[in-house]
Structures are given as C-alpha cells and as structure tokens.
C-alpha cells in the first residue's frame, strides 16, 4: 500500500500543551500535506511542505520533513480546545502529481 501512516492513532492532552503527530510514508514524494477534519465534516488544508524543504511554520503549526527516513511530524504548540479534531497527512507521490494518498489520521482531543 502506498498509504502513509500516522502515529499516535489518538492523542489526549490539556490546553496549553504541545501536540506532536508523526507520519511515515513509503515512496518518493513531490510534497507532503497536513489536513484537519472536524467530526463529520470535510478536510481543511493546514500546511504543505515540498520534498526539498525540511521545516515549515504556519502560526502555531510546525511541520518537519525527513525524506531520508520518509517521515514527517506536525507540532501544534500551545494547544486549544478548538484544536480538537482528526489530523491527516497526505503524500503526493512523485510518480505523477496531485494524487494525494492519505494516512489513517491522528485523533487529537484537547481538554480545557
């Protein structure tokens, strides 16, 4: 399977703590993207990191990419209850482009 895999599957933290989610994938990529999904809704794009980038920031989000290990991490700093959602990584494989393959996701619960 080309599908990426996230860990942990579920994460429960207190408001103000940092949340780290990891993603591994199997083949060469053009880019890796992170999405957020509130329960029962569509996915919303958070951040895209290209294969030649190693780190990217957007507000409270920090994404790293290690192509030698075929892995990425998403860090959410100073988490809030509103960050409660499922987070998915998606890889755009370099065999073509714009064919996003998603992992199983991490369910994040942030408690007030």
């Amino acid at each position: 399977s080309q599908q990426g895999e996230e860990d942990p599957q579920a994460l429960s933290i207190q408001e103000g703590e940092n949340a780290t989610m990891n993603c591994s994938y199997k083949t060469s990529i053009n880019n890796l993207q992170w999405y957020r999904q509130n329960s029962g809704r569509g996915l919303v794009h958070l951040i895209l990191i290209r294969s030649n980038e190693r780190e990217k920031h957007s507000g409270r989000l920090r994404v790293t990419l290690d192509t030698s290990k075929k892995s990425s991490s998403l860090l959410i700093t100073a988490s809030r209850a509103a960050d409660t959602a499922s987070y998915f990584c998606a890889t755009d494989y370099s065999g073509g482009y714009n064919k996003l393959i998603f992992g199983a996701g991490t369910r994040l619960a942030v408690h007030p």
Binding site: Q3, N30, N31, Q33, Y35, G40, R41, G42, L43, V44, H45, L48, R50, F88, A90, D92, Y97, N98, K99, L100, I101, F102, G103, A104, G105, R107
Partner: protein, 113 residues
C-alpha cells in the same frame, strides 16, 4: 473565489438500489477532481480521480463508478448498492499544477440498509 458543492449531505439507501452523488466546483477551470471514501474513524481511501472531461482513473476495484460529464462536475454512481458501500464520501479538487493543496466538499454520509 473557488467553492465546491457536494450533495446530498446524508443519504439512506436500501441494498440493491442505485446511487448518484454529485460534486461541482465553482471559480476555477480544468481542476483535478477526486472521490474519496472514509470508513468510520479511519483514513481516506482514494476511489477515483479525473484530470479532464471524460478521463477517469479508478484506484480500487469496487461496485462504484465515476463520470465527469463537464469540466467542473464529478459524479459517483452505483447501479446496485451493497452494504459495504456505506461510508462517508468526500469530493475534492486540486488545481492542475504541482504542489498545491486539495479543497474538500463537506461530504455525503451514505448508509446502505
């Protein structure tokens, strides 16, 4: 601005009945279009994608089919639904160039009974 419409939001259908889910995109031209299915508490499985009118690529063998009769319209169909077709179906589009993000519809919750 670009928007994506997907309907209906929920659908309950009996086994053996036909299915038609529609997705339309506004504010862009020649998008890549996608159908994903999500089982409860799971990730997204890519079902079909299309890079142009009439061009459909199927990712997994299944009881479903897709069509793209117009540039910004993508339809997911089945002639006879199975119980295993139940799930959350998501339509998405990506502008046809490298390193751009996907935009998702709000999804259709399909329950086959």
């Amino acid at each position: 601005s670009q928007t994506i419409h997907q309907w209906p939001a929920t659908l309950v259908q009996p086994v053996g009945s036909p299915l038609s889910l529609e997705c339309t995109v506004e504010g862009t031209s020649n998008p890549n279009l996608y159908w994903y299915r999500q089982a409860a508490g799971r990730g997204l499985q890519l079902l079909f994608y299309s890079v142009g009118i009439g061009q459909i690529s199927s990712e997994v063998p299944q009881n479903l089919s897709a069509s793209r009769p117009q540039d910004r319209q993508f339809i997911l169909s089945s002639k006879k639904l199975l119980l295993s077709d139940s799930g959350f179906y998501l339509c998405a589009w990506i502008q046809g160039r490298r390193n751009t993000e996907a935009f998702f519809g709000q999804g259709t919750r399909l329950t086959v009974v």
